[in-house]
Each structure stands twice: as structure tokens, then as C-alpha cells.
Amino acid sequence: MTDAFGRDPESTSVAGGDIERVLREEGLFVSTTVGISMWPMLRNRRDTIVIRPLPGGERLSVGDVPLYRADIAGHRRYVLHRVVGVHDGWYAIRGDNCITTEHVRDAQVLGRLDEFYRGSRHVTCGSSRVYRLYWRTWLALWPARWCWKHARALVGRFLRRFGWKGLHPGRGPF
């Protein structure tokens, strides 16, 4: 009646291997996301993503949100960020809440975000005008966001010299 894909959560690599197998065997992958790099669109452990493999030969477009394989600090990770530039054999990719642009090769891309639930609200990426307006606006605001984040970091570093502990002291990541 049901198929279970849950695995031991302490073994990130096993969970990661499952993503690729599920995409290959089921043709889609549904999960929640961890982290704040795609805020405000996706919130840590609150929203639901639906990933499907790209149809054969199709490339991503600016605005698409691919799921790709990345090696971060020696660990295999599966990352969901947005395409901000399309190039020959690779993409410029950046999280909605990030200012660093990543270089991601075609071969790293496992699939694309086709739908998501923000809470209980369902969004189809390819057809939602509100969603298209959101990402176009958000990308257009990047220069201002870049300036804001750098200014905030500078002010934070300056204040920490005088013992300031940050806006949310003691609060860990996810």
C-alpha cells in the first residue's frame, strides 16, 4: 500500500543517496527544506518542495530553482538555490537570501523545483504569475540586498569589538 523512503537521519550521506534514487525511480522528490538560504520564499523546515528531473536535454532558465549536488567542506550536500545566469555548461546560482554566487555545472543538477507549498498554500512555479513577479523582483533587488548585507556585516563587526553579542545571542542555526 505504501512505499517508505525514510532513512537514519544521522547519516546525511544515506539520506542524500536516497534523493537521487527517489528522483530516478519515482520521477519526483517531495520533502521539506532545511536552512534559510532561500528565505523568504522557503522557510526552514516549514514548507514543502516538489522536485522533478529535467526533461532530457532541457537546460535551466534564469529564475529556475534547481536541486544540485554540492561538496561543502568535504561533505556531499543537496542544495536548492536559484539560477541567476545561464552559461555554456554551467550556471550562476544564488540563494534568495545569499549574496554569494555559485558556479554549478550541468552535471551537478539533479532536478528542478516545479511546485512548492508555502505552508498550506500551493504554488506551481511554471504558471504562477505571483511567483514569477516575486522572483523577478527579488533578483532585481539583489544589488540593494548586497549593499544592505555588507553594511549590516560591517556594523556588526564594529559593534562586536565593544561586546555586542548580536541580535539573537545564543540562538543556534536550524
Partner: protein, 88 residues
């Protein structure tokens, strides 16, 4: 008996899946595909219905014998319990 906080059911194209969000996603990372019977059972438990009420619903929806419906419902509940989706 009720569904643990954080487990949600989502309709995706022609499939229905259950995934974990929130705190539940720290211990369960995957997706469970469910069929029509599973959808009714899940929705029933999420709404606080008893097993008997859920069996009644399955019997009415699929026009099957109550014994068969009860067996299917118990099987699905057993799988949910195995995967840690339920608070007893």
C-alpha cells in the same frame, strides 16, 4: 491515537505523499506514497476520528466488506506506527 505534529499530506500531480516538516523532519527524512485508502485513513486520524469511524468511511467510499476495510485500515495504521508517524 493521532498523527504526530509536523507530518503533512500533499497531493502532487497524480500522487499523494506524506512528508515530515518542523521538528519531525529532524528524525524522518523521506516521503511515503499513499493510495486512496491511505488518504482516507490519514485524513481521518488527522481529524481525530476513531478507527471505527475511519473504517465506516472506507467501507462507504469503496463499497467493500467491512472486514476487508478494517484489515486495510489496520495495516495502514500499523505502517504509520512503524514509521513513527503516530502519537498513541
Amino acid at each position: 491515537m493521532k498523527v504526530k505534529q509536523g507530518f503533512v499530506m500533499r497531493d502532487v500531480a497524480d500522487q499523494t505523499v506524506i512528508i515530515a516538516t518542523g521538528e519531525a523532519s529532524k528524525t524522518f527524512q523521506g516521503m511515503i506514497r499513499v493510495n486512496e485508502t491511505g488518504k482516507i485513513v490519514w485524513s481521518g486520524l488527522a481529524d481525530g476520528q476513531t478507527v471505527d469511524q475511519i473504517v465506516d468511511k472506507v467501507t462507504a467510499e469503496f463499497d467493500v466488506e467491512r472486514a476487508k476495510a478494517a484489515a486495510d485500515v489496520e495495516t495502514f495504521i500499523g505502517k504509520m506506527r512503524e514509521n513513527g508517524f503516530l502519537d498513541d
